[in-house]
């Protein structure tokens, strides 16, 4: 006989302190966002890409030698052209899908389930990498200023990840308030720095460029400026476009009219992003900035391009550089927040479609998809622990996932225009077709030139994820088919046999005996004879107190309680294959926790063992000692 204690901890208070009071389902409408708050939440990812996009171009051009760095601005211009095509494509998506959906929905609707799942796998992977890239780049800004913090990059990155997790578990609206100020401050700082750098000379305040770099400084074996290297630099610079798909996924978070507000936000974002990206590339090129990356030898102390540009523009003024770096770091850490809005939302859609565990579709206390938030944090933390906090290592993986999703999404839109033949369909199909072709080429270049640097991991993960989605889907299909009531015929109730385990005859087993009498006429008491010396006394007491209930005594030569009991129940099951069988276990409840240690706690083990016998119901009847 076991017993359970009554120790209770008021977790609800702890939860409330950390996550805030629960919100009722009716409050869901109030969580819709005005544009001024939606922009920072959905645009921070895209805008913050400027912190690593120019530096990805510089790093890849340097392979051809420092003279290739004069191509930074032309390559950046090409990226901005592509950016505008992609933004336009997504604005068409936002209007075509006012209920939200983004890449997964578009691919699924137009290209079929399998392409939809491929897109989902790609974009979920992309969200995880959004978190790792943004946070590691953010940490890079901090260590560009406080160089002595460089050895702690991994811990800083993990800390930032879990700070974001808590913020998001508290709910979307408060996150919007929390994140608006830093994002607008970042835009202000960047535009200010660019204006100072570009127009300052009109007022006699020209930047102080770095000394021109000698041809001899070579990153890896210099190969001259080949077309492939330019393509590679372009493809890497396309990291600037990561994050533009976020708005399309989150149309439902906007206030009505959702599509119009979302599209406006998307174009505003594209304009600001293009301006800042071009400005930084221009300043980096004209001021001879060279970025050598964090290297593969574990050197994580590379200074960021933003930091070097700020040195030139502000003439090594440390205060202004600190402000710029701080603003960049903040917006990068907040950029990771885009993924915290989108990953749980896409997971919940996939869960409702039956491709992911349905717990991901549960709204938590605070009307957010808590399980998706936690899942994202776990994946991101594992990546940071596995690869270290080096942004240069994550960028190729990130870009592969994002551009696969872009290609699928825009191909889906092309298919849609061709199928639906709406007004102006050929123009729209042309726009999306250009985008799909361009992003497909970028994807190809990425896989070929950057595959060995880690992009292959993403390519290996995608089919595994698709397989998992399909297994989950099959499981839920199977469950549904087994649970359907169609064709169900009510049966007459079967006979019911009740067994009560009687370790001893005392008041603690009385409620169990009464319960057995209550629920069936066919009841019997079962005693496992661990100590044969006590059996005679037990029989005598049963005569006196057992009433009309038959007592079965079972030998246990090896003094085991569970083995003979399981054996007997199996026997009863075999003798009465059609009966309902209930095993009643008396349990007495002690008042203090330490008193548990003074009794054989066998009830749990008995339940576990009987749980393996089919169609046997196990019931605990408690007796309170106080």
């Amino acid at each position: 006989m076991g017993k359970s204690s009554q120790v209770r901890l008021d977790w609800s208070l702890v939860r409330r302190l950390i996550f805030g009071s629960p919100l009722s389902t009716e409050q869901i409408e109030h969580q819709r966002l005005p544009k001024i708050l939606a922009l920072p939440i959905f645009a921070s990812d895209a805008l913050s890409s400027t912190a690593y996009a120019t530096q990805a171009i510089l790093l890849n051009l340097l392979i051809a030698g420092p003279h290739a760095l004069h191509l930074t601005l032309p390559v950046s211009l090409a990226v901005v052209v592509l950016l505008w095509i992609v933004v336009t494509s997504y604005s068409q998506t936002v209007h075509a899908y006012p209920q939200g959906g983004g890449t997964y929905i578009v691919s699924r609707d137009n290209l079929g389930v399998n392409f939809g799942l491929l897109a989902a796998a790609a974009i979920l992977t992309g969200y995880v990498l959004t978190v790792t890239v943004s946070i590691t780049a953010g940490v890079q800004q901090i260590t560009s200023f406080f160089t002595e913090l460089a050895p702690y990059q991994t811990w800083l990155a993990l800390g930032a990840t879990w700070f974001l997790t808590l913020a998001n578990l508290r709910g979307a609206k408060e996150s919007g308030m929390l994140f608006a100020l830093p994002t607008y401050f970042f835009i202000f700082c960047m535009l200010g720095m660019i204006a100072t750098g570009v127009f300052g000379s009109l007022f006699g305040y020209a930047p102080r460029p770095y000394p021109p770099v000698e041809q001899t400084v070579v990153h890896t074996g210099a190969t001259g400026i080949s077309f492939v290297l330019i393509l590679r630099a372009f493809a890497s610079g396309c990291a600037a476009m990561t994050g533009v798909e976020a708005v399309a996924d989150g149309v439902q978070a906007f206030r009505p009219p959702e599509s119009k507000n979302a599209a406006q936000t998307l174009f505003s974002m594209g304009a600001i992003l293009g301006t800042i990206f071009l400005g930084i590339s221009y300043l980096a090129q004209t001021n001879n900035v060279v970025y050598r990356g964090t290297g593969s030898e574990g050197d994580t102390s590379a200074e960021s391009v933003i930091s070097m540009v700020a040195r030139s523009v502000f003439h090594d003024n440390d205060l202004l550089r600190a402000v710029v770096l701080f603003a960049t770091a903040m917006v990068l850490v907040l950029a990771a927040n885009t993924a915290y809005a989108d990953f749980p939302r896409l997971s919940s859609i996939l869960a409702r479609h039956g491709y992911m565990p349905r717990q991901l579709a549960n709204l938590g206390d605070r009307l957010v998809f808590s399980n998706g938030i936690i899942l994202l944090s776990v994946f991101a933390s594992v990546l940071i622990l596995a690869f270290g906090a080096s942004v240069d290592r994550f960028i190729p993986m990130y870009a592969v996932g994002v551009f696969l999703a872009f290609t699928l999404s825009q191909s889906g839109m092309v298919k849609r225009w061709i199928t639906t033949k709406q007004k102006g369909w050929w123009w729209k199909a042309l726009m999306n077709g250009m985008g799909a072709t361009a992003t497909a080429i970028v994807l190809l270049v990425l896989v070929i030139t950057r595959g060995p640097e880690g992009a292959w991991i993403v390519l290996a993960v995608l089919p595994v994820l698709m397989w998992v989605f399909q297994q989950i889907y099959r499981h839920y299909q199977k469950v549904r088919s087994r649970l359907t009531l169609i064709g169900y015929e009510p049966q007459p109730l079967p006979p019911h046999t009740v067994l009560v385990l009687v370790p001893d005859v005392h008041r603690g087993v009385v409620p169990a005996l009464e319960y057995a009498r209550e629920i069936s006429k066919d009841h019997r008491a079962v005693h496992i004879e661990i100590n044969p010396a006590d059996t005679q006394r037990l029989k005598e007491r049963w005569e006196q107190w057992g009433g009309d209930m038959p007592l079965v005594i079972i030998e246990s030569p090896y003094r085991s309680l569970i083995g003979p009991l399981v054996e007997y129940v199996r026997q009863v099951r075999q003798d009465h294959p059609r009966h309902l069988i209930t095993v009643v276990l008396p349990e007495f409840v002690v008042t203090k926790w330490w008193e548990r240690a003074l009794h054989n706690n066998s009830a749990f083990l008995i339940k576990l063992a009987l749980g393996n016998i089919r169609d046997v119901v196990i019931t605990n009847v408690r007796y309170y000692l106080d």
Copy 2:
């Protein structure tokens, strides 16, 4: 709705490989030991004391300076006189208590419950220290030969402890076989070394003594030979007597006639022990052996006295010294085994008397008290980890516990003779009275002179243990009074209300609904409305499939399942204070373990929450998906 998987691991096979096949209760008689096997098991502790008793005398005489070492033999002779008194006293105990019992039983019977508990606490503590002292002294023999192993003493000691645990969990008889050979080999080696050392000169093979030590070698501030220092050395040398009580505790393990066989074994043990102890003391003194101990500065590499005596007797022959040290180490590690026979046995007696958890009285698969064996190992391991593997630190604690037990036991016997006034009672009382007085003086000397070195820990633990015993006793008394059927009046069965949790209407809840109909006419279905959008569809399906069972729908504004359910059950409890209430939880069982992750596993949390409401029975009814 939760579900349970059906993963089973065949632990019985693993258990069998490690511990051997289970033994049936009927085989218990065959575990009785012949004297030839009982001697090594019960005497190894006492005999092995010779490994550290002489060295304890040397260490304490050295405080007065090296010239005091000529008192080694006289002090040892005094110890042997006391040993003989104690052995005689225990032989009287063995005859007076043929059912076994030793110190606890004797003290309890004659001095009352509280002295009995004090004795029990002292002797249980003593058993734990038997393990630590014997094993650390055994390791000291090994490191006296392999000096390079000295840094690993703690790990060697822990390894030996857990080796003994496994051996004992396999059962007493096999332990006897396992331990007989080393013990007899030890006796042979010791008697051989002593004979060579004492009589070798008759054949021209005299030992090579160490050079006489200069007066200037002083351990701590030399104080001259005072009476107190001699007493202190005598008290420390009484460590030779630790273990002689073991036989009295284990009379039941002997073959009939138990008392006679046990007493014979006790006297044989005393004779062998006295001979070896005196022999070693004689050889140590005549060969100028000086023992400086392991010191307090963490130096654990002190060479043992046995090793130094062997050097003298065998003229630095390393092979013969190795054989002697190996035999000593073996018998010391096996000596710890005495405690593995006695601690679980005394614990089981205390458990049957209600002073320790009753699990300690359970016979395991192999007819040994498995829980007591494990408890002893845990305590010993903690001590070794806390104090390090230094035998010199454990000896004062050990001796205090043992001599308190001796004093109580012999005082109890004195009381017994005075009370019963059997034939020759005054002579017996005089014998025991002498023993009690002498051991009480030794105890007092130990506490005064060695208290600060650790003996105080034992004195602090004893009242705590006594308090714990009493709390446990009170708990079992309380349980007994609550469980008695005396005065119990059978009540008419109360009305029975059954609630079935219905998360959805599908085949998975059908068995639960049928079960509810089966066990009571008063049944109702309860649905917690987490997603109000689904409620209408649920109601329609209930119309179709729910039959005559009423459906209660409960709002859950915060989307919690458990809160509103608990609230409702409390409400029903309040409305029907005298009813029996059963909550039936449908649970579906998936076929593969990973499928569990795809469902809300709320059944466990619901059970936990409802477990806090009194007099509510919670029942799982399972539906199998395959």
